[in-house]
Amino acid sequence: MGAVVLKNIEKLYSDTIACTDINLSINEGEFFTFLGPSGCGKTTILRLIAGFVQPSKGTIHLGNRDITNLEAEKRQVGMVFQNYALFPFMTVAENIAYGLKIQKKSKQERAERVEKYTEMVGLSGFEHRNISELSGGEQQRVALARSLAIEPKVLLLDEPLSNLDARLRDRMRSEIKSLQKKLGITTIFVTHDQTEALTMSDRVAIFEKGRCIQIGPPEEIYAYPANSFVARFVGDTNLFAADIRNGKASLSDNVTINLETPAAGRFVSIRPQDIVFSTAEDNRKNVFPARVESIQFDGISVEYSVKVDDMSFRLVILNTSTFCHEITVGADVHIAIPGKSLKILEN
């Protein structure tokens, strides 16, 4: 039995479905991510677990306990809000001690825990600051410490990084992850950012239109997307409708790719880094003449958009020290698409 188990959860707002048919089992100590575009129902599910909304159908278990009808204040889950929701008229220490006061912890224990958790989030010495004196990143840390201080059974993070600038976001990403590892706390993380999901999670659940489409470790989801939505949403891809028969995938009249292993489906997904430049002399299969349409350089890699007849492909080449930049816009080139790089998708 998992640490958090959702069975047949459905939530309706008057007539619109916020989420439906949700079955999840999150393991003890796992870093579990809900990933999806905005409006896909992921935050609703988090709020269902926190107890701020009641499911229309289904049950929620925390450990062995059915908490479906338990009030939010009795659930012992710690939530970090997107806007942090700190209490603006309290100091850092008072914010962190708020939940402990409610738990009727002694003054000494409160002081110890405040010290422990401010140190843990790297805010030692900030105890007596006012919230308005903190930067966004520091507020984020207070919110995290406040939730951790009550030593909850589950930590819920609602897009906690979305209000931070890019550099800070990268740093907080690894800090949160290592904190979670250290504490071994079961964590549910909601995000619409695939990088966050892929880098931080033990497992990811992908949501679309209120439904959970795929659950699995990041590598598995990236390598074997369940459908074209997942392929596009997690990582970059070249996605085409294709006619697939006899071990061949026809993307157009002139582009037919020989598959490594026969499969059935209606869509083809090819990751940009799987396609490589080639030459006319290349006598391998699946080599096509193409013209370079645009080039984007981002330091680590170079992204090319090329056209084979009317079909656009994107290629990503790692910018290693041996890489030469001789391909220019408008150049006639050849690209090779390895048959094993094709993921055949049903829908």
Partner: protein
């Protein structure tokens, strides 16, 4: 070429300066000057400096000062307690009740002065229907308790609406955070909701306090032998023509108001900037909290009891327009309505005209002033902004007496004209108008203006074709507010009208002072119904225009 550019720049500066003067001058003349006059008059009663009046007031009338402050504080505290109870109930109760309570509260905002007093005397007075007839009691409703009761009843709606507004602005996620950390509803309420809404509650208290301190009508009608500073100021002018004394009393009343005002400003500044990410999601407000059944039923009882009292109050007044209570029976009569037709109709029509002109005037002026202040941030515009806020904290009598003193002689001899009444009503409501407009302006994307300028729109064209249309909702709000306030005000203008050109609220005050409650009921009903109609028509207009 160079000189051409220079002269062009200079001409822009002159236009700016001209507009600034044009907008600042009225503020100086119609707000600052009267205030200065009152203060000067109180210290220079005979043309030379003397503290005699103040000494007399503090030595011989310390009781008066004490009573005034005590009763105002008691009224304020009680009002806030009730208003808070109602606001909490509204936050917790179901959406259907919520709507009807809000509508009821807004309707009871349209209350001419003394409506509570009138109903109170009719129902609970010495010969009041409920006390005398239903309960068979004899008691004296007059005195300090009566005054406080009336002030509380007539201010609860306003205070409750202000606090409800504050609750609606709270970030629901902050409350969820509290619950998430284990805080039950009461705990969340006491340690999160109340501290967060404290600025709103303090603001409401401060507005009520000023209104109570400035209220001279209620003590005259209900106070019996119990008198207050505001009453003395009124009597000093109307009865004895003693303007220096009235000025001094007005200054004394102003002191607590000023203190409250500065306390509030300080408080706001302290808590300012803490609304870190106080974005509003929907209008869930504090609704997520579940309230214990006994608590919610207590709050509910208070709320419904208050609304019942309001119903009783308005019902009694409407009823009394056509029924007389004589020798234990109700007798149908059109006497009172006929009496109005003969004498007081002109005053009623005059009130409508004044209100309409004042409302249009101040809404336009307030919009222009606020637009100018918003687009020229600087020390001078800050000063003008502060000055234009002053009428909000001035007690009514203060503002009225100031107008008598300032506009009695040349250069601006306005005494006895309609203009002085309209101008007084206009500038008294100016703060609401500028605040509504600047709230509207902050909602306008600054790029809108730049886009218009970029497309070659000139200054005036920009103002009239781009900015003003965008400010229509604020304009209408300001219009409705000023119209309602002018229709129901008595505080300042009672000092300014002439016997030949009375307004309806003064007529109402006079008939009540003379004990003619039937006439009072008719006048009050006329004010209520006409103001209600204007409110409904314009509110509809706002709603329709905003889709």
């Amino acid at each position: 070429m160079m000189s051409f550019e220079k002269s062009q720049i200079r001409s822009v500066r002159y236009t700016d300066l001209f507009i600034a003067l044009l907008l600042t001058l009225p503020v100086l003349i119609f707000i600052v000057w009267p205030i200065v006059e009152v203060i000067v008059k109180s210290f220079l009663p005979e043309g030379f400096f003397s503290l005699e009046i103040y000494r007399n007031l503090f030595v011989h009338n310390s009781r008066l000062i004490f009573d005034s402050i005590l009763s105002a504080i008691l009224s304020t505290v009680l009002t806030i307690i009730f208003a808070l109870a109602i606001a909490l109930y509204v936050a917790f109760c179901s959406a259907r009740f919520k709507r009807s309570i809000l509508v009821a509260l807004m309707l009871t905002m349209i209350s001419p002065p003394f409506v509570s007093s009138l109903a109170y005397i009719m129902l609970f007075g010495k010969r009041g229907y409920i006390v005398h007839h239903v309960l068979g009691l004899t008691w004296n409703p007059y005195g300090m308790h009566g005054v406080i009761l009336m002030q509380v009843l007539s201010n609860i709606s306003l205070a409750a609406l202000l606090i409800i507004g504050m609750f609606a602005m709270l970030d629901p996620r902050t409350l969820e955070a509290s619950r998430d950390l284990g805080g039950k509803s009461w705990r969340t309420l006491c340690s999160i909701v109340l501290p967060l809404s404290m600025p709103g509650i303090v603001a409401a208290g401060f507005i009520v306090l000023i209104k109570c301190l400035a209220d001279f009508g209620t003590p005259i009608i209900i106070g019996g032998r119990f008198t207050l500073l505001a009453t003395e100021a009124y009597l000093a002018v109307i009865g004895r023509g003693n303007l220096p004394l009235a000025s001094a009393i007005s200054v004394i009343i102003l002191i607590p108001s000023l203190m409250a005002f500065f306390f509030y400003r300080h408080y706001i500044r302290q808590t300012h900037g803490v609304s870190v990410a106080m974005q509003k999601i929907g209008d869930r407000g504090i609704e997520g909290l579940a309230m214990g059944s006994w608590a919610s039923s207590t709050l509910g009882m208070l709320t419904w009891f208050f609304l019942f009292l309001m119903l009783l109050q308005y019902g009694a007044i409407l009823f009394a327009t056509v029924f007389d209570y004589r020798q234990g029976h109700f007798i149908f009569t059109l006497e009172h309505i006929q009496a109005i037709r003969l004498g007081k109709m002109a005053s009623f029509v005059r009130s409508l005209c004044y209100s309409f002109i004042a409302a249009i005037g101040v809404s336009l002026f307030g919009a222009l002033l606020s637009y100018y202040l918003e687009s020229h941030k600087g020390v001078s515009s800050k000063v003008v902004d502060f000055l234009s806020t002053l009428p909000y904290i001035l007690p009514g009598p203060f503002f009225g007496i100031g107008y008598i003193l300032a506009f009695n002689d040349a250069p601006l001899a306005l005494t006895g004209t309609s203009a002085i009444v309209v101008l007084n009503c206009m500038f008294r409501q100016l703060p609401v108008s500028t605040k509504a407009t600047s709230a509207g302006l902050t909602r306008i994307d600054p790029e809108t203006e730049n886009a218009a300028t970029d497309l070659g729109s000139g200054r005036l064209r920009l103002l009239f074709q781009i900015i003003l249309p965008l400010l229509k909702p604020a304009f209408l709000m300001s219009f409705i507010n000023t119209f309602t306030a002018t229709m129901t005000t008595v505080g300042a203008i009672i000092f300014l009208i002439t016997p030949q050109a009375k307004v309806v609220t003064v007529e109402l005050f006079n008939v009540l002072r003379d004990g003619d409650y039937g006439q009072g009921a008719v006048l009050a009903s006329m004010i209520i119904i006409s103001t209600l109609c204007v409110n409904l028509v314009f509110t509809r207009w706002v709603i329709r225009r905003n889709g």
